[in-house]
């Protein structure tokens, strides 16, 4: 029974040597493997839900699928207040469902891809590019660059900083929450394991020695704490990430 507690990063299963200077070697990590599993789950779910669609007399499955689509539509339309961002609906929905499934996949014992900063950084970068592209499209390149010097030219560095802070804060917020969930879950299991080993170690002889290896106290309490640290936090962070995405893009389209 380990007396030490540590949280480690995703496992690296394989390394492909590329020799490219900055990018380095391709490492097939737990993050990548699990994110493929997440994609498979989502796609299979989509295909299952939209199998055998009917116009009338629909099944519960189809009603659920339609509800999901309507939820996506309403989420984007209500937060932007118009239908001109409708082409963003699949993107935001994909972001949300990928985030939710990635966060919750830790419940079946896999390591969440979202517990790796690279994942959130990638998403936030895509969102940042979209925000910037929308701004340039709305105000023109000149107007976009000029926007950094407002209200006075001295503010330029701070404006650039605040602009860059957007993706960094989005990525770090999501990552921090999920990682903290992983750490707390790990701590709870570890502590409960120690506690049950100490408790069952009181039984004398070989029976106690054997039973103390089984963390019986680990059953029950993590399910309750998991409601917050896994379920709530996982859904909340996905929601916040998508909400911010759509808000930032809608704001970018209004400027000027």
């Amino acid at each position: 029974m380990s007396k030490e507690f540590s949280v480690v990063g995703p496992k690296i299963y394989a390394t492909i040597r590329t020799g490219i200077p900055i990018l380095g070697d391709i490492k097939i990590t737990e993050t990548i493997i699990v994110s493929w599993i997440v994609m498979l789950i989502i796609t299979a779910l989509c295909i299952f839900l939209t199998w055998d669609l009917k116009v009338e007399n629909i099944s519960k499955r189809q009603a659920f699928a339609e509800m999901l689509v309507e939820m996506g539509n309403n989420f984007v339309r209500n937060n932007t207040g118009s239908t001109k961002f409708d082409k963003l609906i699949p993107f935001v929905s994909a972001l949300f469902i990928t985030s939710v499934v990635s966060n919750l996949i830790s419940l079946i014992g896999l390591r969440s891809p979202t517990a790796d900063l690279s994942t959130e950084a990638a998403w936030a970068t895509v969102v940042f590019i979209m925000i910037t592209a929308t701004k340039i499209k709305t105000n023109g390149l000149g107007g976009y660059l000029k926007g950094f010097t407002t209200p006075i030219a001295v503010m330029t560095p701070f404006n650039i900083l605040s602009e860059l802070a957007t993706p960094v804060s989005m990525a770090c917020r999501h990552f921090g929450n999920i990682l903290s969930g992983v750490v707390i879950d790990g701590l709870i299991y570890w502590a409960l394991g120690l506690a049950s080993s100490a408790l069952l170690g009181l039984i004398p002889g070989a029976v106690g020695g054997f039973l103390s290896k089984i963390p019986v106290l680990g059953v029950g309490l993590p399910a309750i704490t998991g409601v917050y640290f896994d379920w709530f936090s996982g859904c909340m962070q996905a929601f916040i990430f998508c909400m911010l995405t759509i808000m930032y893009i809608a704001n970018a389209a209004e400027e000027g």
């Binding site: 990018l23 929905s93 990638a122 790990g186």
Partner: protein, 177 residues
């Protein structure tokens, strides 16, 4: 025993740092995100939106048809109502006409009858008057004749006393005749 702790103890494979940015993972995640967007679009949004649109069209069609049917029914109703009103008016007109005609006819008949009666009365009166005149004239003639006879007889009596009785008898028998 914690899962993470177990990993730390039993991991034979190397692990990456807990908080780090791995360029390839970053790139692969971006690709995965767009593939996921494409898959969700293809397998969820496209078919569902398609179905929703179809249902919308169907509902629109049904509503449109219902509206058309209602309009048609309304116009038919108006038509029937107006024709019913017309029929009522026509019937009233016919009855009124008939009444008027009957009245006129009855009036004419009564007038005719009255005229006829008056005519008959007048004619009867005239007849009576004429008869009366005639009778009076006849009576006058008779009385004149009678007087003449009487006067003649009176004259004859002077002549023959005996014939007197016979004369009176003759007269009476003549008058009686």
């Amino acid at each position: 025993m914690g899962i993470q702790a177990l990993m730390a103890v039993t991991a034979v494979t190397e692990t990456q740092d807990l908080v780090t940015l791995v360029p390839w993972t970053f790139i692969i995640t971006i690709c995965n995100l767009f593939i996921q967007v494409f898959l969700i679009k293809k397998f969820l949004f496209k078919p569902i939106n398609n179905i929703l649109e179809k249902r919308q069209n169907l509902a629109d069609k049904v509503i449109k048809e219902a509206r058309e049917a209602k309009e048609e029914a309304d116009s038919l109703k108006d038509q029937y109502e107006s024709s019913l009103t017309n029929a009522h008016a026509e019937a009233a007109q016919i009855v009124q006409d008939a009444q008027k005609e009957a009245q006129t006819k009855a009036d004419a008949l009564v007038q005719d009858a009255q005229k006829q009666a008056t005519d008959i009365k007048a004619k009867a009166a005239a007849d009576i008057e004429q008869e009366k005149k005639k009778a009076i004239n006849e009576a006058k003639d008779e009385i004149g004749g009678l007087a003449m006879d009487i006067a003649g007889k009176v004259v004859e009596k002077e002549i023959n006393e005996n014939d007197h009785k016979k004369l009176i008898e003759d007269f009476i028998s003549k008058v009686g005749a």
